[in-house]
């Protein structure tokens, strides 16, 4: 069975400081992994995806994530937070041979001035 765990429900950073949102996954197969962002009262926007190509994946808005098979992790990072990054972030794994996306419980990122 596949699963994904977001290790922090809330993360608070100051504007201009680095962002780290942690995600661990469990999968019997080579997974496809995604990060989606949801701003308040909005839909989900794809930030980036990993599909067994390069382990370091670059996404939109300066975000990137590194797939580490040995640690079963897919953490999301950004060098310098911006106020507009304040949102809910979901780590997602594509379940093998089903149409279900397995969502983490989400991490709410707050950015203080």
């Amino acid at each position: 069975a596949q699963s994904v765990t977001q290790l922090d429900s809330h993360v608070s950073v100051s504007e201009g400081t680095p962002v780290l949102l942690r995600c661990n996954y469990s999968s019997s197969y080579s997974p496809s992994l995604f990060w989606y962002v949801q701003h308040p009262n909005k839909g989900l926007q794809l930030l980036l995806k990993y599909t067994s190509a390069a382990t370091l994946v670059k996404g939109i808005n300066g975000f990137e994530a590194e797939f580490k098979k040995s640690e079963t992790s897919f953490h999301l990072t950004k060098p310098s937070a911006h106020m507009s990054d304040a949102a809910e972030y979901f780590c997602v794994v594509s379940a093998y041979n089903t149409d279900k996306l397995i969502f983490g419980t989400g991490t709410r990122l707050q950015v203080f001035p």
Binding site: S32, F34, L44, D99, K100, L101, G106
Partner: protein, 118 residues
């Protein structure tokens, strides 16, 4: 252009009303999805359409009735809903169904329709 358009953005309906949510994409995607999202929770899959045929119904109550008139449109017909059905309803699409692709067929989401049942 990765755009999924949903209407209306907000809908308030009584428990005896009949209403519909609409979703449209022009990316040539052949798989379309309905998700339900309650506050502070991740989205939950409701239905999957592939090539305009219903392929998955996640045991959704019959008061929710999906329809796929053509490859670009997806509707969700609502009837006799309950207050607990109030939620954000998200439409999504992907080039093909994600099942078995192994290559991370990406799902693109719309902005959602906020439904309040009174």
């Amino acid at each position: 252009d990765t755009e999924v358009t949903q209407t209306p953005k907000h809908l308030v309906m009584g428990m005896t009303n009949k209403k519909s949510l609409k979703c449209e994409q022009h990316m040539g995607h052949r798989a379309m999805y309905w998700y339900k999202q309650k506050a502070k929770k991740p989205p939950e899959l409701m239905f999957v359409y592939s090539y305009e045929k219903l392929s998955i119904n996640e045991s959704v109550p019959s008061r929710f009735s999906p329809e796929c008139p053509n490859s670009s449109l997806l509707n969700l017909h609502l009837h006799a809903l309950q207050p607990e059905d109030s939620a954000l309803y998200l439409c999504a699409s992907s080039q093909e169904r994600i099942a078995g692709t192994g290559a991370g067929n990406t799902i693109y989401f719309g902005e959602g329709s906020w439904l309040t049942v009174v």
